[in-house]
């Protein structure tokens, strides 16, 4: 059946057990709010707030999560910027939740609503302080569904807000997907509310079924805990002037996030037997460059953060040229350069335009891939 990217995100969230959505309208993410509103109207267990602004929305999903609900919000660049303070809050307080950013051209109001990938670094480092977020970026409608479920799982495991990146093209992309057969396993002993979900998606051949990770922490109202954004010790007691407590806490969080991220290292690699060039692209741009696989090897990170540094090194060192094609001015390229410790070439696709001739022209100017025929 035909499903839209944003719709697949919503369906994935419900499949993962989400029962709370808060949001503020912004293109190109608004379909998710509308779907949530329709769903809430039909299912009393699913709660929705159309918030007064994105700050309200993101703080509402934090509260809902503490109260025991799997929660999420969806927005685009300007709204994502407004949400940043709460992202750090979620990391400090250890709140599992999911934030979907359907990117458009910025900064500011920018080009509503041309697609972009300009919120990549914001997704990694947009809030104050040090924190170690998990960020995923699918590239198809089916993957929007799959990685939304995985984002919810990663949130539960890491006890933190997980960011799912999308973009205006991907969010509005409509693809035919077989909705019957993705096996999704619920943990035993969990009672799932009837959501009247009439859609389901398929795992491509050979992939393991998605196992839903359930909530571990008892909900608010069942204990005597102080959830605080202040640096605190294990009892929740504030420790705002103790470097030792802070360092121990941060090291613990970092280690836990690294371990958990180890189970969420997703990428795709398409080899090329003779090419001396590796193209790196992700999200919707990886779909655009896909036909160039006949001439170049392609690496596609799906897990954007933490950086797939080992994989980038493993594949990057095999090639003379490494070219990062992305819809921003080199945000991922600079990370790849850091990982490889050498210069990489950049093809920035700016202003919402992305197509093969544009990319080929850029590669041609660099003298890459000449003489090879498609």
């Amino acid at each position: 059946m035909l499903v839209q990217g944003n719709q697949a995100v919503f369906l994935g969230a419900v499949k993962a057990g989400a029962t709370f959505f808060a949001g503020y309208p912004i293109s190109p993410s608004s379909e998710i709010l509308v779907l949530a509103a329709e769903h809430a109207a039909r299912n009393s267990v699913f709660k929705l707030i159309q918030s007064e602004d994105e700050i309200g929305a993101v703080n509402a999903i934090m509260g809902a999560s503490l109260a025991g609900a799997k929660s999420f919000t969806a927005t685009s660049g300007p709204g994502f910027s407004l949400m940043q303070e709460a992202v750090g809050y979620g990391h400090q307080v250890e709140i599992p939740t999911v934030i979907v950013d359907v990117q458009r051209v910025g900064p500011a109001t920018g080009m509503p609503t041309m697609p972009a990938q300009q919120d990549l670094l914001q997704a990694m480092h947009g809030s104050s302080g040090d924190y170690y977020p998990l960020v995923f970026y699918p590239n198809s409608v089916e993957e929007c569904y799959r990685y939304t479920i995985l984002a919810f799982n990663a949130a539960e495991e890491s006890l933190s807000p997980v960011i799912l990146l999308s973009d205006a093209f991907l969010g509005h992309l409509i693809e035919t997907v077989d909705l019957e057969a993705i096996p999704v396993l619920y943990p035993p002993g969990i009672v799932w509310h009837e959501h009247n979900l009439d859609l389901d998606l398929v795992v491509p051949g050979g992939m393991a079924p998605l196992e839903i990770v359930s909530r571990q922490r008892p909900p608010l109202g069942t204990g005597q805990r102080a959830f605080t954004g202040l640096t605190h010790d294990w009892r929740g007691q504030q420790r705002t002037a103790d470097a030792g407590v802070y360092r121990e806490w941060l090291a613990g969080v970092k280690k836990r996030h690294q371990e958990i991220a180890g189970n969420y290292r997703f990428y795709e690699y398409i080899d090329h037997p003779t090419s001396d060039t590796l193209l790196i692209a992700f999200g919707i741009v990886s779909r655009v460059v896909r036909p160039l696989a006949s001439r170049f090897a392609i690496f596609r990170p799906i897990s954007m953060a933490p950086l797939l540094a080992d994989e980038l090194r493993e594949y990057g060192r095999r090639f003379k040229n490494v070219v990062v094609v992305e819809a921003n001015d080199g945000q991922y390229a600079q990370l790849v350069e850091w990982a490889l410790r050498r210069e990489v070439r950049r093809v920035p696709l700016l202003g919402g335009r992305m197509n093969i001739p544009l990319i080929e022209a850029e590669l041609g100017r660099m003298g890459i891939g000449e003489g090879l025929s498609v």
Binding site: T19, F20, A22, K47, I49, S51, E52, D53, I55, G56, A57, N59, A60, I61, M62, G63, A64, L66, A67, G68, A69, S71, E85, A86, Y89, V93, P219, L220, G221, T222, G223, Q224, R225, A226, F227, T228, G229, L230, G236, Q237, Q238
Partner: protein, 251 residues
Amino acid sequence: MFKDLLRLELFPTMWCPGCGIGTLMSQVTMVMDELGLDHTNSAVISGIGCTGRMAGYMNLDSVYTLHGRTLPVAEAVKMVQPDLKVIVISGDGDLTSIGGNHLLHTARRNANLTVLCNTNEVYGLTGGHAGPTTPKGAKTISTPEGAAYEPLNLQNLLKGGSTYFYARTTVYHQFHLRRCVKEALAWPGFSFVDITSQCIENYGRRLGFKTGYEMLAWFREKYKMAPDGAESLGPFELGIVRKGQTETKDA
């Protein structure tokens, strides 16, 4: 015992000697104790500021939110856990300035929450900057010539809808304060208690008060009870105004 609601092991608190927040906390916990509200049926959501720290001293699940964000957190908690008594306790700067937009809209949505606003007329924690509740002319560290603008009229702001609960009281008028909190907790919708208290260190001293007690004495002198059944509270009048005790979405 109301003391069971407090984490006495964390005492003494971080509040300055003579501050009104301690009084507020003991009065609120007394009311909660009287009503049987504790960690099995209630949660406290607080914001950032001296007042916000109250949550951490209370012996139940509490959330110390970001500055200004108590209401979105609290509204969501109440939606997910409708049987939980959700009490918001925060400073006037937190609730009415940085959180002002949430205040407007959470009140408009009539979320079933009780909001206890500690109105010390200043940003206490940051050192005594003027805020939206600072009276015109008051000298603070950010208004050396006296605050230039009229303060927010919270009563009028909150009386905009077809249903509302607004109470004004002070930490000097303890019996009245307890009554206001009790009635607010019983109100099946959005209830707001505007509680004037003293910030002696970062406000009162600059206004010429020498001790917290002097400020309390001033509250006693200045604030008067509104006549019974008043539909509107005049300046320095204490009382409760409410309308339309209708069913709320999660009552």
